[in-house]
């Protein structure tokens, strides 16, 4: 296989004492799944995670994660080597349960934002009330002018999923926020 190109590969924003650490997430398999009511349960079985039905909730099993982003929309995330299996399994389901499964692994990049000041850094450009966002929640939102999906992985740990061409812009603002946090200003 050829060398892959990743925007911002190896970039890192760090504020000492685990106040803030921002880095690119490892690659993973991502699918956009669109499916109607009765198909949700069988689709969950095929993926290997019971799909959450409330918008904004996530469900995980092992290293697979499902985010419910809309009334009929999920983002499925899994290790790279699961891609072909998942695609084949959904293809087998299609005849009985029509749906749309589209590979978006390369559309997005993940940016992990961690530390006690993670929420403050995100608030520099995200209008969501993060105090109201429980751990394990995920939502499509905006970060300045970029559409993102924001996942709260832990109290002080977030993951941004963003289209790769917008990643530079998101990163630039996080860098500015990181400087403010470093200066405690």
């Amino acid at each position: 296989m050829l060398q892959q190109y990743r925007p911002l590969d190896g970039s890192r924003i760090a504020v000492p004492d685990s106040v803030l650490g921002i880095e690119m997430a490892d690659d993973c398999t991502r699918f956009n799944l669109r499916i109607a009511g009765t198909g949700i349960a069988p689709a969950g079985k095929v993926f290997g995670v019971t799909l959450p039905k409330v918008i904004g909730q996530t469900a995980a099993s092992g290293d697979k994660l499902a985010l419910c982003l809309g009334p009929d929309e999920w983002q499925l995330m899994a290790p790279l080597d699961e891609r072909d299996r998942i695609e084949a399994a959904f293809a087998a389901l299609y005849a009985k349960v029509p749906h749309s499964l589209v590979d978006i692994s390369h559309r997005e990049v993940g940016i992990v934002v961690e530390g006690s000041a993670a929420a403050v850094a995100l608030c520099s450009a995200c209008p969501l009330d993060l105090d109201e966002m429980p751990v394990g929640a995920a939502t499509r939102t905006i970060f300045d002018k970029a559409q993102i999906v924001l996942i709260r992985q832990g109290r002080d740990s977030f993951r941004i999923e963003v289209w790769q061409s917008f990643a530079d812009h998101v990163w630039g603002i996080l860098q500015a926020a990181g400087r403010e946090i470093t200066l405690e200003i």
Binding site: M1, L2, Q3, Q4, Y5, R6, P7, D27, N32, R34, A36, D72, Y94, P98, H99, S100, L101, V102, D103, I104, S105, H106, R107, E108, V120, C123, S124, A125, C126, P127, L128, D129, D131, E132, D144, K145, A146, W163, Q164, S165, F166, D168, H169, G172, I173, A176, A177, R179, E180, L183, I185
Partner: protein
């Protein structure tokens, strides 16, 4: 240092001297001083010249309402700011400030001549004085007015500072940290609710900072303040923002707060933002903005040394500064008496208190007399004298009948005035909350709120310390309760409170000719009482009109000190009650706010998103010149050594047509449409027929709006019965997806089909040229590339260079072409592999300009360049793309409207200039007869125009009325210098038989 600093008073750090300059002169202040307090401590009152008359002006107030004391601040290249209020500017070591609006110097200003000709500058002077002779307007009057207008000097180099933004949410936002605001924040904070307390000053306290004598709950005021501040600081649920101005109150309890982060610092931390704009959504808001003292309106009330009495008290109690050594007080309100007594206690010789009122509470009179102050109740002030500083005040008795008696002069070096206090209702007013006029108290008070908001304290007309604390506590507790928390307002006790009363007056009575009095209402815009009366005499009745005619209340202070006085005078002049005259609307921002704060991070590289493809880095390394296309930057052309754009594009086109060109098409919009009804959905959206398109085949698709006009186009591939790969224009990608989702969700929710944007999933490499197939054949696995198995307009899935691909055989150049879709992260590596392998064919990277030329040679349109939202498919020569047998598609019905069928509609055609070397200007107009009289009838315009290297001549596309029927006719294209002749042709200039495409 000076006789004006009172060692035992104030909250400044007396042990820390700070040095600064004003107009080049070095002064010493104290840590904690504002520029105003530091200048006053040095005996400096004269700080600027007024806007219109260039009159000497001093410091009027001690707060953000200051209209007069505006200075320029400079801290190095690019860091200069005009119109900074000296009363809020904190001094630090090395601060450099200058006064404004004068030449050659503050003390000798030739602009003062305006003052002598004041009659020329009365209300509406722009409209009157400069009317005649008419020819003077452009050459004389306008340049003069432009030169004279404006306050201060705007910076001339880019601002080197950065600015920050932050969103925040809270249960209760409290604006103002005076007694009411503090009490509110304390009660709400104790409930556990999330609180933000914001105050524009450097420290919490508001009016308490000027009131050390009061006692609150058994503690001296400042000790209570410290306890309160400590409690708030220790509460994790409370965020305290000082030096932060709530500049605007917007819909749904959304407020903008501008925080000054570094302006007060002696050294700027590297990389620190200067200001931060907070965008706060609050469940509940408590507005405790306090009140603003009203000046009195009398002749000479603008002379340096004349200032607000409450502010003099603030300078004394908070900053330890006596504003003068010999004071006279003129007032219509009790509070100025307290200021007089405070000053007398600090050693200022207070010669007299002039009170407009005939009777004043006895205890105040007794107190004043006990301090040796002469009391003149029922008197008026009719003038002041002194050139650059007040030296005496002219006072007269007024009889019960209103007759003004004989004048006497009292010497002074400062004249303190007070016309009562105006509740600061600005933010409440931003919410469109109604203001109720209180006739008895002569003030506007907040009425029924339109947002989840409460007003408390002086800002609500509650002036007493005890009442303000109680109302604040109640507001804080009830706001917290309404936000879902348990809270109860605590009680307060006060020692030493003196209840203040007063009356409201219009301009003070005088024994002199009032039409020559310079009794200022608006200090910043130089509007006098006489201007307002003149406006009324000239027919203006509403305060909105009077405001615009006289410019009262229109300066950067938005009339904080002038609005109510102006209104009272206007109301008197029109003989109608105040509310009938109206109050002008307060608009954000509350105080002047920098553009930087609004812009936040949005500057430089973060000004706008710059989307880059996976291959962009290669293009950059290989010398590409870029052009912006929607948010993307795209390689425009790849100049080799010494080439200009024309040469580079000609070479790129030639190489592609002769052998092989490679092009980054990744920015094309892509939408994956999947589901049993996918074909039906595309049938309804696009004009073409899709049902019979076989899997593995491509078709050009045309998308219209309901109006029948072309919106977008692209090639659509059918990957399987139920799965389509749709491409859109680069700029149309988001819009097309949104349109499709809209139709799907609102018109056809019954269809089983789903849309996913895959624009960024795929990097797209376009290979065009006779050698395109030879290049990829050895690199592709799983696809038979022969012309029979994989003809023009085919799609197949397989591998290229070992990575999965969706391979399109399609061409936008007219050459044998492929569009190679690979997962984005592989885009660059595949590109590089193809480029290496392509060297044997002299592979040439080409940019968007060469792409444009080659597609124009083939007559392929670009939506948005050759179309402008008014072209139907037939107008664009694309009638063939309409599935005529289809029952419906978006826009179908509009295509049969009679207007759409007219023969003289503008149609897209080709143009060949008579002179083959002439390249027409895109956008140039076209006329049928160049000899017709001007204005000529335009029959169309040029939409695309290029030099075609393949044809050795220029080509152009144009829209022309009834263009197709005119084929062969000559038209004329006027351009700078010459009118060119051109022949109308068909749109396909190159290889009309498509032999190369199908090779």
């Amino acid at each position: 240092m000076s006789t004006y600093r009172v060692a035992a008073k104030g909250r400044i750090d007396q042990s820390r001297p700070v040095h600064f300059t004003f107009n080049g002169e070095r002064f010493e202040g104290r840590k904690g001083d504002t520029l105003a307090s530091a200048l006053l401590a040095n005996g400096v009152h004269l700080v600027g010249r007024s806007f219109k008359y260039h009159r000497p002006r001093g410091i009027l107030s001690a707060g953000s309402e200051e209209p007069n004391a505006l200075v320029g601040v400079s801290r190095g290249v690019g860091r200069s700011e005009p119109n900074t209020r000296a009363t809020v500017l904190e001094v630090f070591e090395g601060l450099n400030t200058v006064s404004q609006n004068h030449w050659p110097s503050l003390k000798r200003d030739v602009g003062t001549i305006n003052d002598a000709f004041y009659m020329l500058f009365s209300a509406g002077f722009y409209y009157k004085t400069f009317m005649w002779p008419k020819s003077f307007w452009n050459k004389v009057y306008e340049p003069f007015i432009r030169g004279a207008a404006g306050l201060g000097k705007s910076p001339s180099v880019p601002d080197p500072d950065t600015y920050a933004s932050r969103y925040a949410h809270c249960d209760v936002l409290v604006v103002g940290s005076g007694p009411a605001g503090l009490a509110a924040a304390l009660e709400a904070g104790r409930s556990g609710a999330k609180i933000i307390l914001v105050d524009e000053q450097a420290e919490l306290g508001g009016s308490l900072l000027s009131e050390p004598a009061a006692g609150i709950n058994g503690q001296p005021a400042w000790q209570w303040l410290e306890t309160a501040a400590d409690e708030l600081a220790a509460s994790k649920n409370v965020t305290v923002l000082t030096r932060t101005t709530a500049i605007g109150y917007y819909h749904e309890n959304f407020l903008g707060l501008c925080q000054r982060v570094t302006d007060h610092l002696e050294t700027l931390p590297e990389g620190a933002p200067r200001e931060r704009m907070w965008r706060v959504r609050a469940r509940q808001v408590v507005l405790a903005q306090g009140s603003i003292e009203k000046p009195l309106v009398f002749d000479g009330n603008d002379r340096p040394g004349v200032m607000l009495a409450g502010s003099a008290r603030t300078f004394l109690n908070r900053y330890g500064v006596k504003v003068g050594n010999r004071a006279v007080v003129v007032t219509s309100h009790d509070s100025a008496w307290l200021a007089a007594i405070n000053l007398a206690e600090a050693g200022v010789k207070v010669s007299a208190i002039i009170d407009i009122r005939a009777s004043v509470p006895y205890h105040l009179v007794d107190l004043a007399k006990a301090h040796g102050i002469e009391v003149l109740t029922g008197w008026t002030v009719t003038g002041t004298s002194g050139r650059l500083r007040v030296s005496s005040v002219r006072v007269n008795p007024v009889t019960a009948g209103g007759k003004v008696g004989r004048a006497r002069n009292i010497a002074c070096d400062t004249l303190l005035m007070c016309g009562g206090w105006t509740p600061s209702v600005h933010l409440f007013s931003h919410t469109k909350g109604k203001l109720d006029w209180n006739e008895e108290r002569q003030m506007f008070l907040p009425g029924a709120p339109t947002e989840e908001t409460r007003c408390a304290g002086a800002g609500n007309g509650v002036f007493g310390l005890l009442d303000a604390l109680k109302e604040g506590a109640f507001a804080g507790a009830s706001a917290a309760t309404d936000a879902g928390f348990k809270a109860k307002a605590g009680d307060y006790q006060i020692e030493g409170e003196i209840a203040c009363t007063g009356i409201s007056v219009k301009e003070l009575p005088t024994d002199r000719n009032s039409s020559s009095a310079k009794a200022f209402v608006d200090f910043q815009n130089d509007v006098t009482a006489k201007d307002i009366r003149l406006a009324v005499r000239e027919g203006f009745q509403s305060i909105e009109h009077i405001k615009r005619y006289t410019t009262t209340g229109m300066a950067t202070d938005q009339g904080k000190t002038s609005n109510i006085n102006g209104l009272a005078i206007a109301s008197d002049a029109v003989r109608r009650p105040t509310p009938a005259v109206g109050l002008t609307t307060f608009r954000p921002p509350y105080t002047p706010t920098t553009f930087g704060a609004f812009a936040g991070y949005t500057r430089g590289s973060l000004f706008e998103v710059t989307r880059k493809t996976a291959i962009d880095g290669w293009a950059e390394q290989n010398g590409a010149v870029f052009e912006p296309v929607s948010l993307w930057r795209r390689a425009w052309y790849f100049p080799e050594r010494g080439e200009d754009m024309h040469q580079s594009v000609a070479r790129e086109c030639k190489a592609t047509r002769q052998s092989l060109g490679i092009f980054d098409a990744s920015t094309l919009g892509k939408i994956e449409i999947v589901g049993p009804d996918a074909a039906e959905f595309i049938n309804r959206m696009y004009t073409n027929a899709w049902s019979k398109l076989a899997p593995g085949r491509l078709r050009y698709g045309l998308l219209l709006g309901e109006d029948g006009f072309i919106r977008d186009d692209g090639v659509i591939g059918r990957l399987s019965t139920d799965r389509f790969h749709v491409t859109t224009t680069t700029g149309g990608a988001a819009r097309v997806l949104a349109t499709m989702e809209d139709y799907l969700q609102t018109e056809w929710p019954d269809l089983k089909v789903w849309l996913t944007s895959t624009t960024e999933q795929w990097a797209v490499i376009a290979l065009n040229g006779p050698n395109a197939r030879q290049l990829i054949e050895p690199l592709v696995e799983g696809i038979d590339l022969s012309n029979q198995a994989f003809p023009h307009m085919s799609v197949a899935e397989g591998n290229i260079c070992g990575v999965p691909t969706r391979l399109f055989r399609v061409s936008f150049t007219g050459e044998l072409g492929f569009e190679i879709n690979v997962p984005s992260r592989y885009g660059r590596a595949v590109w590089e592999a193809l480029y290496e392998a392509g060297r044997q064919y002299d592979i040439t990277p080409y940019g968007t300009e060469a792409m444009h030329v080659m597609r124009a040679e083939k007559g392929y349109i670009i939506v948005g360049q050759d179309t402008d939202g008014t072209l139907t498919p037939d107008d664009a020569g694309l009638g063939w793309a309409i599935g005529k047998a289809k029952p419906d598609f978006v826009g179908k019905r509009s295509l049969t409207r009679s207007d759409m069928l007219k023969a003289d509609r503008k149609q897209l055609v080709g143009l060949m200039t008579r002179d083959p070397k002439t390249v027409l200007e895109e956008g140039a107009h076209i006329v049928a007869d160049p000899n017709q009289p001007v204005p000529m009838k335009m029959i169309g315009h040029v939409t695309s125009s290029y030099w075609s290297e393949a044809l050795g001549r220029s080509i152009a596309l144009a829209v022309i009325e009834g263009g197709r029927a005119r084929e062969g006719q000559t038209v004329h294209v006027p351009m700078p210098g010459k009118t060119h002749q051109a022949e109308i042709t068909g749109m396909v200039f190159f290889d009309p038989e498509n032999e190369r495409l199908n090779a």
